[in-house]
Symmetry: none
Subunit: 214 residues, 2 copies
DNA sequence: GCTAAATTTCGATTATCATCGAAATATGAA
DNA sequence: TTCATATTTCGATGATAATCGAAATTTAGC
């Protein structure tokens, strides 16, 4: 959770729990300890509680710990293959991340479907609205609710942003529905199907470099 | 045990056990974990095994933890007096910290001996080079090796930076050699001698406010 | 080679922590 | 109001860690 927050974002408890792979109760327990220890700050916003690092010193602290700690040894070929799959394409909460998520984001930027609105957010251009309407998703009728529309989410494996928020989530669930992507059993990784491979090329001008074999 | 080793000394396991108030078995168990975690190094010298911090980064890490952590409640008058001494002047790994370390750093900045080079580093000005040559230290002939020359190290008690790195270490060991400062028995604290008091005034334009009495 | 000192390893006990189901709380929406 | 969602609190259980006695290991000095 701390590693995720190192990017400087504020995230709600549920999302941090998902990322850490624990239940919300467990995450809540850890988060409150981290608050007490002056490591995190929380900002209450309605029923969401956004957690973030308490100070630049904490970020410096974590970088130092990473510098002092011996690098985590990958113990087996299987683990290393799994790591490759996870780096290639995975879900981050409910949207695409990894190489695929980042490349898709870059191609949407290049094609003028989205643009960088602020350090923390993307926005959908009118061209993007049209393009996604053709794709079968009409974002002009989708209600925002409390959720951010298109978060710029820092990708730990690619060190670049991918699209999160409602846009990322809606797009990703559509990709699952159309079977462009499928979950890899037991991992956070996803694989691109043959249908997806041609779909990404035609619709997003994106050549998916390596297809992960199931 | 780590707090004791922050003074920069090497100590045997038995002594660290005594200081921490645990049996040698318990200390040994913790020390071996700290070795595995790259926090400590051990030097075997006959049947004694001398433990010390593994790197300046570990010292910086611990000072940062102290800076982030909420202050510990002081339980007794004696503890409070000890705390005062430690806050006044102490060694941080191998360089000066506390009020004295911070004031010395400020006076070197004011007198143009050093300047802020980056958020993490100081640098020695040409005036500083001359001044230290007069003092008897020629930094132009000291090899850097892998160590940072003059780190801006955050001071937990003063919430300001003091000089670490090679510059801080070289200066501090010279101060011990000339008996401007001496260790306080059983603590990380140091005290300024009468010689040091006049020396700091003449050479660094620094009035040492309170002399810690032994 | 023997003995004493410093330290570690082993094993058992006790204390503490992590975890999650169930229930409570808080908020926003219908 | 009622329902759904986000989050926390409580409580029980299983896992992990701390601790130290006993015994093993290492080495200095005799």
């Amino acid at each position: 959770m701390l590693d995720t927050l190192l990017g400087g974002q504020s995230l709600p408890a549920g999302e941090l729990a998902y990322i850490a792979g624990v239940t919300p109760q467990t995450a809540s327990s850890h988060l409150s300890k981290l608050i007490d220890a002056n490591v995190l700050l929380v900002e209450t916003n309605g029923r969401h509680r956004y957690y973030r690092l308490a100070s630049p010193e904490v970020a410096q602290l974590m970088e130092l710990i990473a510098a002092v700690t011996p690098p985590v040894r990958v113990r087996s070929l299987r683990e290393s293959e799994q790591m490759k799959k996870v780096r290639h394409a995975r879900t981050c909460y409910d949207h695409l991340a990894g190489r695929l998520g980042v490349d898709l984001t870059k191609s949407m930027l290049d094609n003028g479907l989205i643009e960088v609105e602020s350090p923390t957010d993307f926005s959908l251009t009118s061209q993007g609205h049209d393009h996604f309407r053709q794709f079968g998703i009409d974002f002009s009728v989708i209600k925002l609710g409390r959720r951010v529309f298109a978060r710029r989410c820092l990708d730990w494996s690619e060190r670049y942003h991918h699209v999160g928020g409602l846009l990322g989530a809606t797009l990703t669930s559509a990709l699952f529905e159309r079977r462009w992507i499928e979950r890899v059993e037991g991992l956070r990784a996803v694989k691109v199907t043959d249908v997806g491979r041609s779909g990404f090329r035609e619709f997003f001008g994106l050549d998916v470099k390596e297809i992960i074999k199931a």
